[in-house]
Symmetry: C2
Subunit: 216 residues, 2 copies
């Protein structure tokens, strides 16, 4: 879906010595991204290989190795590009969690949208594969977290800080830990198939996290 | 460590037709468990094979295939046995979260012990491998959750129900969701290397979960 739209990702400037080369490189990158995402969705991550991606993209294996060191790196970049394109298609040039003044409503809206995305097959296969690879390969895991996961968690930090300024979250709360009370349960259910995910479920997480389990 | 102690796991009754066969089977199972756990710790899960486990255990490949259908199944059983032996060594014949009447203290104690276990190399390699396999193989993931993860989560359900009876948790709270507010953040940090884990961190999770983020 989003991956089929027009390209906007740019190769690094060091690889753009000439307009024609640049255009050719960009076409190759686009084909490699599409091939990697398609293969992971069709045959699964373990059976996806650099050779398979190269064959499907119509490029030589060496073209891929010139730009990336592993299939995990190819897929991470393809997935980042997919997300950037989806955001662009939705008209979201800057990323932020809305601030309507109602913290619970804003968090519930974002988490409902996340539930929808986690259930979207276009996103599910690659994000599941990347998360799994990050668990067994710690170095790749740290790259995945730094480029993909942590930037999105920082949006919650920003929104919780605004809520602290507005007196809606206790001043002594650490926002980076606090966000995990509603984000991590959703992540674990989805990743580990421990239980179903739904809008009602994430709404409940937000209510519990804001108001606590103990009686008031 | 715990895996080196004397065996107590029993093969299914259907495979105990004769005392001598039973003892031989039990010795083989023990050797296979030890080989699987050792290989995963030494070469990692992706490079661990049924052939490698068989060679190290000194049994034929067919002996392994007679009892298990995949290396993931071998490792899951080996890990369950490891946990059972560790519990036995610690004198915990029944599993339960202590109930001292102080819910926060009890949860903090159990989560601190979990942090220690997650950092213990004996447990870390196999549990990380099993979790990662469960993420890419949904069928195995459901088996992993049903036999290993969910039973331990149910202990938190029991403790939270007791706290509800004692008026320390709001009656309308669903304990199966509530436990995720402190268990899932720890699981995600550990699995995805998003941030360090410590006793201070899990103590904070318990405080936030019980008292909420919003001012009282």
């Amino acid at each position: 879906m989003a991956a089929q739209k027009s390209a906007h990702a740019q190769p690094p400037a060091s690889e753009r010595p000439h307009p024609d080369t640049s255009r050719r490189n960009q076409r190759s990158r686009r084909a490699i991204y599409d091939a990697a995402l398609a293969l992971v969705a069709e045959v699964g991550y373990p059976k996806t290989t650099i050779e398979g991606i190269a064959a499907r993209a119509g490029v030589g294996k060496q073209t891929i190795y010139r730009w990336w060191s592993s299939k995990a790196d190819v897929l991470l970049e393809a997935f980042l590009d997919l997300g950037a394109q989806a955001a662009q298609a939705a008209g979201q040039e800057t990323y932020a969690i809305p601030d309507t003044g109602d913290l619970a409503a804003d968090l519930k809206a974002v988490l409902r949208a996340t539930v929808d995305e986690l259930r979207d097959p276009t996103f599910e296969a690659p994000s599941r594969a990347l998360a799994a690879e990050g668990i067994v390969d710690e170095q790749f895991g740290r790259e995945f977290v730094a480029t993909l996961l942590e930037p999105s968690l920082q949006l919650y930090v920003d929104r919780l800080r605004a809520a602290q300024d507005a007196g809606q979250v206790r001043a002594e709360v650490d926002p980076r830990i606090a966000l995990e009370l509603f984000v991590s349960p959703l992540a674990q259910r989805w990743l580990q198939h421990t239980a179903p995910i739904s809008h009602a479920y994430t709404d409940t997480l937000v209510d519990y996290a804001l108001h606590g389990l103990a009686p008031r």
